[in-house]
C-alpha cells in the first residue's frame, strides 16, 4: 500500500500553515494525527498533492479552563483528553469516549481537530461534542471565525470548514450544575468504530429535566442531534417509561438515511440506536443525580 506522490511541508506557526493552505488552495490537505488521512492515502482514496503537517506548530495542544467553559487546542490527542483532569471532571463523556477510540497507538496520535474536520460518519468525537455544544474556531491567513458545532457537520465526510481554514481550537461551554453525561457505543466488530454511538448530556433540576442534548453517530451519514428524543425528555420527570419513549425516537432524525452494510442492516442499526440511547440516557441521569 503505497501512496501517490505528494509534497510535504512542516510549518512551525499557524500563519505559515494557513499561508501554505492559501497558496496551494484546493491541492493542499492539513495533516494532524494522520490516522484518518494516511490510511486513505495508502488506499489512494485521497491523493493530495501537498501535505501541510501542523504537528510541528507549538501551542495547539492544550486543555484550558476558561471562565465560561473549557478550550481545547485542535492538536490535543485522544490520550491527552482521556487523561486530562479538567476534561474528566467537566465532561466525563468526552474523557470516556476518548479513552475508547480504537487502541492506544491511535489514541496517542489522533486529535480532536482531526476527528471533527474528518467528520467520519462513525466517529465518536463529533457526536460527543455535538451533545456538549460549543464551537469550532477556524483560522485562515487573514481571518478567524467561530462555527457553532450545530452547524459544523454538514454531510458525509463534509464540514462547514473551508479548504483554506485550520481548526485551532474547540470551545466547550460550562455545563450547568445537575448535569450528567454519558456516551454509549456499540462496536462494529471489524473496525471497532461505532455501528451506533449515542452521547447524552442531561440537566436535572429537582425532579425535572431542564435541558437535554442527545447526539447519535454511526447510524447515518454524519453525527446528528436527536431532537425528538430531546423534546420528549425536556420538562419531564425522567421515569423509565419516559426514557424508553424518548430513546425509541433516537434514530427518528436519521430516517431514511440509516446506514446499511454487512455488519448491520438499517433495521438493526435503528434498534441498536434506540437501545444505546436508552443506556446513555440512563447513565447520564444517574450521573446527574
Amino acid at each position: 500500500m503505497v501512496t501517490s506522490n505528494f509534497e510535504y511541508f512542516a510549518p512551525t506557526s499557524v500563519d505559515e500553515a494557513t499561508s501554505l493552505l492559501s497558496k496551494y488552495r484546493g491541492e493542499a490537505k492539513v495533516l494532524a494525527g494522520g490516522h484518518s488521512l494516511i490510511p486513505m492515502m495508502k488506499l489512494r482514496l485521497a491523493e493530495p498533492g501537498i501535505l501541510v503537517d501542523i504537528g510541528q506548530i507549538e501551542g495547539l495542544s492544550y486543555v484550558r479552563k476558561e471562565e465560561d467553559g473549557v478550550a481545547i487546542g485542535s492538536m490535543t490527542t485522544y490520550r491527552e483528553m482521556a487523561t486530562s483532569s479538567v476534561i474528566q471532571s467537566n465532561y466525563p463523556l468526552l474523557a470516556d469516549a476518548s479513552a475508547r477510540v480504537a487502541d492506544l497507538q491511535v489514541r496517542n496520535r489522533g486529535t480532536i481537530g482531526g476527528s471533527l474536520a474528518h467528520s467520519d460518519p462513525a466517529g465518536d468525537i463529533p457526536a460527543v461534542v455535538l451533545a456538549i455544544g460549543g464551537s469550532v474556531v477556524a483560522r485562515t491567513r487573514r481571518s478567524k471565525r467561530e462555527i457553532n458545532i450545530d452547524r459544523f457537520q454538514v454531510d458525509l465526510l463534509t464540514t462547514a470548514l473551508r479548504d483554506n481554514e485550520i481548526i485551532t481550537e474547540i470551545k466547550l461551554p460550562g455545563l450547568a450544575s445537575g448535569t450528567g453525561t454519558a456516551y454509549s457505543k456499540f462496536h462494529q466488530p471489524a473496525s471497532h468504530y461505532a455501528i451506533t454511538g449515542v452521547a447524552a448530556v442531561i440537566t436535572i433540576s429537582g425532579e425535572t429535566c431542564t435541558d437535554a442534548r442527545i447526539a447519535v453517530t454511526g447510524a447515518g451519514d454524519k453525527a446528528t442531534r436527536a431532537r425528538r428524543t430531546e423534546r420528549i425528555l425536556k420538562g419531564k420527570e425522567l421515569t423509565p417509561p419516559v426514557i424508553r419513549r424518548a430513546a425509541s425516537r433516537a434514530a427518528a432524525e436519521i430516517g431514511d438515511a440509516l446506514n446499511e452494510d454487512i455488519h448491520a442492516s438499517a433495521e438493526y442499526r435503528e434498534h441498536l440506536t434506540r437501545i444505546h440511547a436508552g443506556y446513555a440516557i440512563d447513565q447520564a441521569v444517574a450521573a446527574a443525580g
Binding site: 500500500m1 489512494r44 456499540f186 462494529q188 466488530p189 471489524a190 471497532h192 454487512i262 441498536l272
Partner: protein, 794 residues
C-alpha cells in the same frame, strides 16, 4: 541457560529477536540494483480481456518494463496442482491471466519499476478493456443449469466428485426405530490474515543462470521443486530461502503466481526484483479457506445411540485449483466424519466446484475444522431432537480408549487416545451440574447463558508417503534433519521444516539438548534455505515435530551411537559398561573415567585415535517417514452469555482438554492452543468473507473483515491427557490446529444452547449480534403466534 529436558517450558529463544524488530523478513532483503513489481489486477469477478494498453505505463517515470499475461505466456507455464483425485478437472491456471479473468484480483499484468511507488503509480496507467461476463460465487449455485461457466474443461463448474464412506447408511436408516435429523450446515469462507503478508525477492545471477527466491512461505523446498517443474528452470540452479516468516496459517503453503512471475521477470530485466503484497492485495490474491455448503443428516435411536451420518457437500474451490485444493475438502474432511464416535455408517459425497472467487485451499485445520464442526453440531442437534443431554449422548457413542491403532468406519487407523478420559477431565474442571442450575436461574432473570461441548479428533503429522501417494499426493511427505556437531562440541542442525511462528528454533534445539546434553545456547537451528541443507517437505498439518522432530531424533540417535562407540574406545572400556547422561560418558563403577560429549566431538575431528573403520567427523542425516498419521483429540467446553437487547455473544469460559501425545514444550503448546482457540472463536462469532453476486468482495479489508480481537476471549483453562502416539519415536502428535478445530463447534453449540428454550435449533456461523438478535426476535414472534393460536383454539 543450560541443558534442556523434554517436557520443560523453555522460553522461546527467537522471541527477543522477533519482538524487538530484529527479525529478517522478505521485505528486509535489499539487493543492489533491485527493482520493484506491482501487479495490475482484475477489478471484476469474471470478464474477458479485450485489450490491455500499456504504453502510458511503459513511459511513466522509473518504469523499466511492463509485461502482460500474453507477453509471458510461454515462460510462465501454469500453476501446478499437488494432489490428484480420480477424474479431477485441471483447467489451466496461468500466473498472469491472458484471455479471461475469473476472480477479483486475478493478475493480468506486472509493472517493473525502480521504486515501489513508481510501480504502483504506473498500475493506474494501464488500461484494461474488459468484456464483463456473468459471475457466480456460490458453490451450490454454480452447479445448477444455466449458471455462468468458468472453464471449458469443467462442465457445470464441477472440478471433481468424490466420495468416501463405510457401513451402509441407506440400509441402516430403514430400521423403523431410527430417527433422522437433517440440517443444512454452512461453513463460511474465511480469509487468512497472517501478520506478514506474502512477498518475494527474485535474484537472478546472469553469469551462472541461477535464481534465488526469497519468499514468505511455509514450504521453501516444495517451492523450489514446483518452480523448477513449472518454468523448466533446472532444479540445481534454483535456490529458495524462506527467511523469518510472519505467520501463514496454511495460506503460504502453495506455489503462487507472484513467485513464478518474479523469477521470470528477474531473468527478463536482469535485475533483482521485489514484490511485497499489500494488505488489500492479500485479501484477494492469497488463498482463502473453508466455504462449504452441506446437506447433513444424522441418524440414531431414541436412547441416544447414533447409527450414522450422511453428508452431501458443495466445496467451493474458487476460480482455479490452488496447490492442495483437492485434498482439503476430501480426505482431510471425509475421513474425519466419524469423530471420536463409533459411527458405524458413513456416507459422504463431495462436489468440488469452481466459482468466481479467490482460490480456496488449506487454512488452519484444513478440512478437519469443517468436519468437526459438522459432526459436533449434528450430534448436539440430534441430542436436542431426542431430548437428551448432549454429554450423555456423546459418552454413549464414544470409542473406547486404545493405545496402538484402532481402525474406524472410514478405514483409517486412529493411533491412540482416551476419548472418555478427555471428557471426564474437562468435566472435572467444569462443573456441568452447577452450570445447568446457574443457567436456569439466569433464564429466570432474563439472561441467556449457554454451554457448548465439542469433542474432536484430527489427522496430522502428514504423513506416510506411500499412503499419501496412493491417495493422490504429488510429493513425498516424509521429513529430514541434519545434525552437525562441531569440533568444539557446539552443534548446528538443519531441519527440513521451517517455522512461521511455531518456535522451531526453540523446540528443535530443546530436543537436541535433551538428547545430547549440549546446552541449548550452543545449538544453532538452520532452516528454510534450500542450499543450506537437504530437502524437506515443509511446515503444515501440525507435522513439524511429529515428522520433522522424529527425523531429528533419529539423527540424534546416530550421533549418540557414534559418540558412544568413540567414547568407549577412548575410555578403553567395553561399550556395554559406558553410560551416557547429561552430556557425559562414564564407565560404570569407575569414578574418574569420564568424557564429555564436547571432548568426544573434538576427538572425532582430531581423528587421531578412532576405532577401526570409523570415519572422522560428527555429522548425521536422517529422513523419517512415519507408518501412520498422528491423531490429536480432545474435549472443549465453552460458556457464552448473550445480551438480550443486542444479540451480542460473549464467551465467558473456555475449557480445553487436549491429547497431544507427549509434550516437548508445554508453554509453546499452550500458546498454540490459545491461538487456535482464538481463531476458532473468530470463525464462530465474527469472521466471514462476503462476496456480492457479481464477485466483488465486501469484506476486503481489516475495516470490514472481523478478525477476533483480544477482548473477545476469556482466560482459557487448559489441561491435557497424554496418550503417546505410536506413529513416531518421540510419541508426539501435533498441536498447531487442534484449538481451531474444536473451538468453532464448542462456541456454536453454546450459542444454540443459550437459545434452545426459545426453540432455536441451529444457526450458521458467524453468530453475529444481528443474526442472534434476529433469532431471538423470530423465536419470540413464533411463541407469540403459538400462544395466539392456542387462545383461538380455546
Amino acid at each position: 541457560m543450560a541443558v534442556a529436558t523434554f517436557g520443560e517450558s523453555v522460553k522461546r529463544t527467537e522471541d527477543p529477536r522477533l519482538i524487538t524488530g530484529r527479525g529478517k523478513y522478505v521485505d528486509d532483503v535489499r539487493l543492489t540494483g533491485m527493482a520493484h513489481l506491482a501487479f495490475v489486477r482484475s477489478t471484476y469477478g469474471h470478464a474477458n480481456i479485450k485489450s490491455i494498453k500499456t504504453s502510458a505505463a511503459r513511459n511513466a517515470p522509473g518504469v523499466i518494463a511492463v509485461f502482460t499475461g500474453a507477453d509471458l505466456q510461454e515462460e510462465l507455464g501454469g500453476l501446478p496442482v499437488g494432489w490428484m483425485l480420480p477424474d479431477l478437472k485441471q483447467p489451466p491456471h496461468p500466473p498472469l491471466a491472458y484471455e479471461t479473468v475469473r476472480y477479483l484480483g486475478d493478475a493480468v499484468a506486472v509493472i517493473v519499476a525502480d521504486s515501489a511507488y513508481q510501480a504502483n503509480d504506473a498500475v493506474e496507467l494501464v488500461e484494461v478493456d474488459y468484456e464483463v461476463l456473468p459471475a457466480v460465487v456460490n458453490g451450490e449455485e454454480a452447479t445448477k443449469d444455466g449458471a455462468p461457466q468458468l472453464h471449458e474443461e469443467a462442465p457445470n463448474n464441477i472440478g471433481f466428485d468424490w466420495e468416501v464412506g463405510g457401513g451402509d447408511y441407506a440400509e441402516a436408516i430403514k430400521d423403523p426405530d431410527v430417527i433422522v435429523v437433517k440440517e443444512r450446515i454452512v461453513n463460511q469462507r474465511l480469509i487468512p490474515n497472517s501478520m506478514e503478508t506474502r512477498g518475494v525477492v527474485a535474484d537472478y545471477d546472469v553469469g551462472k543462470g541461477n535464481i534465488t527466491l526469497y519468499t514468505s512461505t511455509q514450504i521453501p523446498h516444495l517451492v523450489k521443486l514446483l518452480f523448477s517443474l513449472v518454468t523448466g528452470w533446472p532444479e540445481q540452479k534454483v535456490r529458495v530461502i524462506a527467511p523469518d516468516v510472519g505467520g501463514g496459517f496454511g495460506s503460504k503453503l502453495y506455489l503462487y503466481a507472484e513467485e513464478v512471475v518474479a523469477g521470470i521477470v528477474a531473468r527478463q530485466v536482469k535485475r533483482p526484483v521485489k514484490w511485497i503484497e499489500s494488505r488489500s492485495e492479500a485479501y484477494v490474491s492469497t488463498a482463502h479457506g473453508r466455504d462449504h455448503i452441506c446437506d447433513a443428516e444424522i441418524a440414531g435411536k431414541k436412547d441416544g445411540e447414533i447409527i450414522g451420518i450422511k453428508v452431501d457437500l458443495y466445496a467451493n474451490l474458487g476460480a482455479y485449483l490452488s496447490t492442495f485444493a483437492p485434498l482439503i475438502p476430501t480426505y482431510l474432511f471425509g475421513l474425519m466424519l466419524g469423530g471420536v464416535y463409533k459411527m458405524p455408517n458413513i456416507d459422504c459425497k463431495v462436489h468440488g466446484v469452481f466459482t468466481n472467487t479467490t482460490p480456496v485451499d488449506a487454512y488452519r485445520g484444513a478440512g478437519r475444522p469443517e468436519a468437526a464442526y459438522l459432526v459436533e453440531r449434528m450430534v448436539s442437534r440430534f441430542a436436542q431432537e431426542i431430548g437428551r443431554d448432549p454429554i450423555v449422548v456423546r459418552r454413549k457413542n464414544m470409542l473406547q480408549a486404545h493405545k496402538n491403532g484402532r481402525e474406524v468406519t472410514t478405514g483409517v487407523m486412529y493411533d491412540s487416545g482416551d476419548y472418555k478420559g478427555n471428557l471426564n477431565k474437562a468435566l472435572e474442571i467444569f462443573d456441568y451440574k452447577q452450570f445447568r442450575a446457574d443457567q436456569r436461574a439466569a433464564r429466570r432473570d432474563g439472561k441467556l447463558l449457554g454451554v457448548g461441548i465439542a469433542t474432536y479428533i484430527e489427522i496430522c503429522g502428514m504423513a506416510p508417503s506411500a499412503v499419501a501417494s496412493s491417495l493422490g499426493a504429488g510429493a513425498g511427505l516424509w521429513e529430514s534433519s541434519n545434525v552437525r556437531v562441531h569440533p568444539t562440541g557446539k552443534a548446528t542442525i538443519y531441519i527440513g521444516t521451517s517455522p512461521h511462528g511455531q518456535g522451531h528454533e526453540t523446540t528443535m534445539a530443546q530436543l537436541v539438548s535433551s538428547e545430547l546434553g549440549i546446552p541449548i545456547e550452543d545449538i544453532e537451528v538452520l532452516h528454510g534455505d534450500t542450499d543450506q541443507g537437504q530437502f524437506g517437505t515443509g511446515t503444515f498439518g501440525s507435522r513439524s515435530l511429529a515428522v520433522g522432530g522424529a527425523a531429528l531424533f533419529n539423527s540424534l540417535q546416530k550421533v549418540k551411537a557414534k559418540t558412544h562407540r568413540l567414547a568407549s574406545h577412548l575410555l578403553e572400556a567395553d561399550p556395554k559398561f559406558v553410560t551416557f547422561s547429561n552430556g557425559t560418558f562414564a564407565v560404570e563403577d569407575i569414578a574418574d573415567k569420564t568424557l564429555t560429549i564436547q571432548e568426544v566431538a573434538g576427538q572425532a575431528y582430531a581423528a587421531a585415535n578412532l576405532p577401526d573403520g570409523m570415519e572422522p567427523g560428527l555429522e548425521e542425516v536422517s529422513f523419517f517417514d512415519p507408518q501412520n498419521f498422528a491423531w490429536p483429540n480432545g474435549t472443549h467446553i465453552c460458556v457464552v452469555e448473550i445480551e438480550q437487547d443486542t444479540g451480542k455473544v460473549e464467551v465467558q469460559r473456555y475449557v480445553a482438554v487436549d491429547d497431544f501425545g507427549n509434550v516437548l514444550n508445554p508453554m509453546i503448546v499452550d500458546g498454540m492452543t490459545h491461538g487456535g482457540v482464538a481463531q476458532g472463536i473468530g470463525q464462530a462469532l465474527s469472521e466471514q468473507a462476503v462476496y456480492t453476486d457479481d464477485g466483488q468482495l465486501l469484506s476486503g479489508s481489516l475495516m470490514d473483515y472481523a478478525l477476533p480481537s483480544a477482548d473477545m476471549f476469556p482466560m482459557m483453562e487448559l489441561d491435557r491427557t497424554v496418550s503417546p502416539s505410536p506413529s513416531n519415536p518421540i510419541g508426539v502428535k501435533g498441536a498447531g490446529e487442534a484449538g481451531t478445530i474444536a473451538a468453532s463447534p464448542a462456541v456454536m453449540n453454546a450459542v444454540v444452547d443459550a437459545l434452545a428454550h426459545l426453540g432455536v435449533k441451529h444457526m450458521d456461523m458467524p453468530a453475529t449480534s444481528e443474526k442472534v438478535w434476529r433469532a431471538i426476535q423470530d423465536a419470540k414472534e413464533a411463541q407469540r403466534a403459538a400462544r395466539a393460536t392456542a387462545r383461538a383454539a380455546k
